[in-house]
């Protein structure tokens, strides 16, 4: 670029004329590396980023530890407190309720008995003695710590 005095603002062309004056194109370099198209290596960085999961580690952990049960009351149960002495009767009630409510659904939307038992057992076992709430708070705390570390790096 030339060594001119300070250039004032242009009017109207968003500096395009000026950019066209100062820019250049030179041919690509040749490099001695064999082309490797295996395993997605033909993809650009942007394509690879778009493929990567958009969930943070915390969100991934949250989804694994608190899966979607498919029923609202079971999802609420995950962060409730279930006392051990009510575990068995409550388990029987929600399993029977799930089987009965499924009977009114179309066949393709019905769950098998095994699936209902597994879901209800998961929904009941996570919140025993409020452990589900404690785990959720633990995840939130780790996420907060990560955020604080990031803020610190701005000043370091």
């Amino acid at each position: 670029m030339t060594n001119n005095p300070v250039v004032p603002p242009n009017q109207g062309d968003d500096g395009l004329d000026l950019y066209n004056q100062v820019s250049e194109v030179t041919p690509e370099r040749t490099i001695n590396v064999a082309e490797d198209n295996g395993d997605g290596n033909h993809k650009s960085m942007k394509e690879r980023l778009e493929e990567s999961p958009n969930l943070s580690d915390m969100q991934t952990a949250d989804r694994r530890m608190f899966p979607d049960m498919g029923r609202k009351h079971l999802n609420r149960l995950l962060v409730a407190r279930v006392f051990p002495d009510v575990y068995n009767p409550l388990y029987r009630i929600i399993v029977k309720d799930a089987i009965k409510s499924d009977m009114s659904k179309p066949l393709e939307e019905q769950q098998t008995v095994g699936e209902i038992l597994t879901d209800c057992n998961t929904a009941m076992s996570i919140p025993i003695d409020g452990e589900g709430r404690i785990d959720e708070l633990g995840l939130a705390g780790v996420a907060h710590d990560e955020k604080m570390e990031l803020e610190k790096t701005k000043l370091v």
Binding site: M1, N3, N4, P5, V6, V7, P8, P9, N10, D13, D14, G15, L16, L18, Y19, N20, V22, S23, E24, V25, T26, P27, E28, R29, T30, I31, V33, D36, N37, N41, H42, K43, S44, M45, K46, E47, R48, L49, E51, S52, P53, N54, L55, S56, D57, M58, Q59, L150, T153, K154, L155, V156
Partner: protein, 265 residues
């Protein structure tokens, strides 16, 4: 190489006034020496450049309208057993834009794009402007540095030791206007404290790079404001044709002369 009038006209027609960004796009690309920082900066700019391509121009100045591959084009190529390489294949159009065809970019042809790129190192195969610190000061009030990618390698522009000099103050002022200028400012450096503290605070995205010599893959961990952390790996040699991995920043003769004056023999 200078582009023909037809090629420049195609770029002008394609240049649209972009929407103002919701926040200033300042990216710090960090990593040890030889970890792929410069390559990642070039990758960001090149991917955007090819994403918005509008045509191809031959060495003799012949212009062909084109655009980058979309999802359907990529699926079609995969069905044909061809890797859908966006840097190799484009969809070319006839002059009246009524017919189109996927073609391989011919050898020696240049890709046209309205994306502007500025860098303080030399680039190849893309239309870009090489700038020095003096150029940034000279053109700071003009409309040159708007709607563009600005790639700053090492801490030549943002050295914290310049922060109280006239140069440092103007560059800090420039950094504060990155959002208004709609610039994607990529600062490549080894450590946070090698850049001026204001730029560390302006930064909205932090990228940490590591390079695997054996597989030639660069892994980037990206921490973008308001979004979850992401990481991905990409094949570095795809971008080695666009810059010299061994290029060193030159020190100006004036700076060397001033430093020599301070040495007591």
């Amino acid at each position: 190489m200078t582009l023909s009038d037809a090629a420049l006209k195609l770029i002008v027609e394609a240049t649209k006034q972009p929407e103002p960004p919701p926040y200033a796009d300042v990216r710090l690309i960090l990593g040890d020496q030889r970890s792929g920082k410069s390559c990642t900066g070039v990758a960001y700019a090149k991917d955007d450049y090819y994403d918005q391509l509008v045509g191809l121009v031959s060495p003799t100045g012949q212009v062909l309208k084109a655009k980058s591959l979309d999802v359907g084009d990529k699926e079609y190529l995969e069905e044909c057993g061809i890797f859908p390489d966006v840097f190799k294949y484009v969809r070319a159009f006839t002059a009246d834009a009524k017919k189109s065809k996927i073609i391989a970019i011919p050898q020696g042809w240049t890709v046209l794009s309205p994306v502007r790129i500025f860098a303080n190192f030399h680039m190849f195969g893309l239309k870009y402007a090489y700038i020095t610190l003096a150029d940034m000061l000279q053109y700071v009030n003009s409309d040159l540095f708007i709607n563009a990618w600005l790639l700053s390698d090492e801490s030549a522009f943002t050295d914290p030791r310049n922060s109280m000099t006239g140069v440092g103050k103007i560059i800090a002022f420039f950094g504060a206007t990155v959002g208004k200028r709609n610039i994607h400012f990529c600062q490549m450096t080894q450590y946070n404290n090698m850049i001026e503290v204001r730029f560390r605070q302006f930064a909205t995205t932090r990228v940490l790079c590591t390079y695997d010599e054996r597989t030639k893959m660069i892994t980037v961990e990206i921490n973008e404001r308001g979004k979850p952390k992401r990481s991905a790996s990409y094949y570095a040699p795809r971008y080695w044709t666009n810059f010299d991995t061994t290029e060193r920043q030159k020190v100006s003769e004036l700076q060397i002369a001033r430093a020599m004056e301070t040495i007591a023999y």
